[in-house]
């Protein structure tokens, strides 16, 4: 920590002498940063499930009426089947990547737009800053899901997975804009930025070459957070029945579970798999954010 109490943004790993030493340094760092390790482990587990699943399971069985309906787990259908005659293992293998895709597309769009706006607002200040900050501040107090609902019901016909991602992205930039702008504000008063400015570097050059590299760990944490929020929003829309009705995304599976009152009817296998996968997604992303935050903000290390 620096004496003036201003947080310093540093790179993730201590410099390693050789290629061989680097790997073990990474491991040692993961042992110190437990949250990062847990996050990576959970998400790797999920990736393994998707990859192995896609290689071994016939995802055609995720379509309705392809297997006998409402069968509890058996050798043939390890996760059981639902009321519309989908094999739930196939539905999970096909649907999890779709849900993640919505999250990543919306998250990337949100953080991308948010970063640009944050730099424009935070570096150049002035009227633009007032407007951008005002919009982000007001937008954040409004319940996002409700605005998304209005947008989603305004789209003619049902949403596809891609449209879903765009709809969710339409609000996903608000939070990144606000938090990244705050970071830019503290960065811009630093000595080395001042030096760069006096050296005659232009604004875009300072932003790209001096500020961006220092913000990267922070941007990564913001991105993971945005992905998680986007997945939550998309699942919310889907549970309300505004999702892609034909796609087996995790949220649509939850919609059908609720629609058919699977819990009241005792069809436990129907909801166990999607809930466990959603739990892994959210816990994995959450611990990844906490771990990345620790890299971005070394002061947190002392508190842990």
């Amino acid at each position: 920590m620096s004496p003036d109490g201003v947080q310093r943004v540093t790179g993730p790993l201590p410099p390693a002498p050789s290629r061989k030493g680097r790997g073990s340094a990474g491991w040692r760092y993961l042992r110190r940063n437990r949250s990062l390790a847990v996050g990576i482990a959970l998400l790797s587990l999920l990736a393994l499930f998707i990859i192995i699943g896609n290689l071994t399971v016939d995802t055609e069985l995720a379509r309705p009426l392809s297997v006998r309906a409402l069968q509890p787990p058996s050798w043939e259908h390890p996760f059981g089947t639902d009321r519309q005659g989908r094999d739930l293992l196939a539905a999970m293998v096909a649907g999890t990547p779709l849900t993640l895709k919505i999250g990543f597309v919306a998250g990337f769009l949100g953080v991308g737009i948010g970063t640009v706006l944050a730099f424009i607002a935070g570096y150049y200040r002035g009227v633009t800053d007032t407007v951008i900050r005002g919009i982000a501040d007001i937008g954040l107090t409004v319940p996002g899901l409700l605005v998304l609902i209005i947008i989603a019901v305004s789209v003619r016909g049902g949403l596809t997975v891609n449209q879903m991602a765009i709809v969710v992205a339409s609000l996903a930039w608000l939070y990144p804009t606000r938090t990244i702008r705050a970071q830019v504000l503290t960065l811009r008063e630093r000595g080395y930025i001042e030096v760069a400015r006096l050296n005659g570097m232009s604004g875009p050059e300072i932003i790209l070459r001096e500020m961006m590299p220092n913000l990267l760990p922070y941007l990564a944490a913001t991105l993971v957070n945005a992905v998680s929020a986007a997945i939550l929003a998309s699942i919310g829309l889907e549970v309300l029945g505004l999702g892609p009705l034909e796609s087996p995304t995790l949220g649509m599976t939850l919609y059908w579970i609720n629609f058919n009152a699977a819990i009241l009817n005792g069809w436990w296998w129907w909801w166990v798999a999607p809930i466990v996968i959603i739990l892994i997604v959210f816990l994995g992303l959450f611990f990844l954010t906490v771990g990345l935050d620790e890299i971005a903000n070394p002061r947190l290390r002392q508190q842990a």
């Binding site: 007001i138 954040l140 107090t141 409004v142 319940p143 996002g144 899901l145 409700l146 605005v147 609902i149 209005i150 947008i151 019901v153 305004s154 789209v155 003619r156 939550l232 929003a233 699942i235 919310g236 549970v239 309300l240 029945g241 505004l242 939850l254 579970i257 609720n258 819990i263 009241l264 005792g266 436990w268 909801w271 809930i275 959603i278 739990l279 959210f282 816990l283 992303l285 959450f286 611990f287 906490v290 508190q303």
Partner: protein, 335 residues
């Protein structure tokens, strides 16, 4: 000066109201949808009537709802009627107005959200403060991992799990609705218990998840506050430990928590909507779910507008109260 601050905040509130109304008006029209036609077609298909008179019906309804006038006149009259909280008739419950339906649902949601948010905020803040305090009992350290895990999952997911555990597996609590179907609402103790027992599961899902979030936030703030010079000074003066804890640490660490509460209201509400849907709790969320199912645009718009305005009002109140909690910021413009 203080008046200026309140006036500015009120201006922002009015802006939110206007934006919400305009959003409601513009978005569906941008997409070129005809809500009346969609709805009538839907019921025609469901009921299997011949669709011969449909166009005439659409025209008649459009005239009655004022949908045949030019756009700017529709906008003005829309703003006017919105200001009177008149959101037209509900398309799916025709003789009833949107306002009546919302008025029926609001008390349920306000009661559920008010109680659970206050409980989660109170318990979480206290727990977080204790988690950071060196004098707290050591077993509290074991609370951290479950709190973290709870904080990361959505309300309704916990709701699904709880409804299986406490209503299906061990049938302790009712699983669905706001009160037992067929019970006559009255002020008797039995009915009151009926209502409370139906609200327990949704409430529990919100409180458990919320507590985790508030506890984590408060713990972080406490750690920072406890490092401040004035706390060291208080210790050096020989003040009693509970005094330092409450009057020096908690009093200061709670301030950012309150700001966070104002910011989190929207998210809490978005989450609660889904919890209501999962439990069929007769509040705004379930009403919205039905409106979406029935394609009832007027009802959807009415709910979205009401909720945005209500939350704007709640944030406004929190913001006006905030300078009183933290005298340092009262007359300053926000940085």
């Amino acid at each position: 000066m203080q008046l200026g601050y309140i006036a500015r905040r009120f201006g922002v509130f009015l802006l939110i109201v206007w934006l919400a109304a305009s959003l409601n008006f513009l978005l569906p029209r941008l997409s070129g949808q005809d809500p009346v036609r969609t709805k009538l077609l839907q019921s025609a298909q469901l009921g299997g009537y011949v669709q011969a008179g449909l166009e005439d019906m659409v025209k008649e309804y459009n005239k009655r709802f004022g949908l045949d006038k030019p756009l700017w006149r529709q906008y003005l009259s829309y703003l006017q009627s919105t200001a009177r909280l008149d959101f037209n008739y509900s398309i799916s419950n025709y003789p009833r107005t949107v306002r009546e339906l919302i008025a029926d649902a609001v008390p349920w949601t306000v009661a559920l959200l008010g109680v659970t948010t206050l409980l989660a905020f109170g318990i979480g803040t206290l727990l977080g403060a204790l988690l950071a305090w060196p004098g707290a009992p050591p077993w509290m350290r074991w609370l951290m991992p479950p709190l973290w895990a709870l904080h990361a999952i959505p309300f309704f997911l916990l709701g699904l799990i709880l409804s299986y555990l406490l209503a299906f597996h061990l049938p302790l609590l009712p699983i669905f609705g706001g009160y037992t179907a067929g019970a006559t609402p009255s002020l008797s103790l039995a009915f009151l218990w009926d209502v409370v027992s139906h609200a327990l599961l949704p409430a529990l899902s919100i409180v458990l998840v919320g507590t985790g979030g508030w506890a984590l936030g408060m713990r972080g703030m406490m750690v920072t506050t406890m490092g401040e010079d004035y706390v060291t000074f208080a210790e050096a003066k020989g003040l009693k430990s509970p005094t330092i804890f409450l009057r020096y640490c908690v009093r200061n660490a709670i301030l950012p928590q309150t700001t966070a509460l104002a910011l989190a209201l929207g998210q809490i509400l978005s989450g609660a909507v889904l919890v209501e849907v999962i439990f069929g709790y007769p509040g705004i969320g379930t009403l919205l779910f039905q409106a979406i199912r029935e394609n009832d645009h007027f009802l959807i718009q009415g709910i979205v507008f009401t909720v945005i305005v209500a939350l704007g009002l709640a944030t406004l109140i929190l913001d006006v109260v905030y300078p009183w909690l933290d005298p340092r910021i009262s007359y300053r413009r926000e940085a």
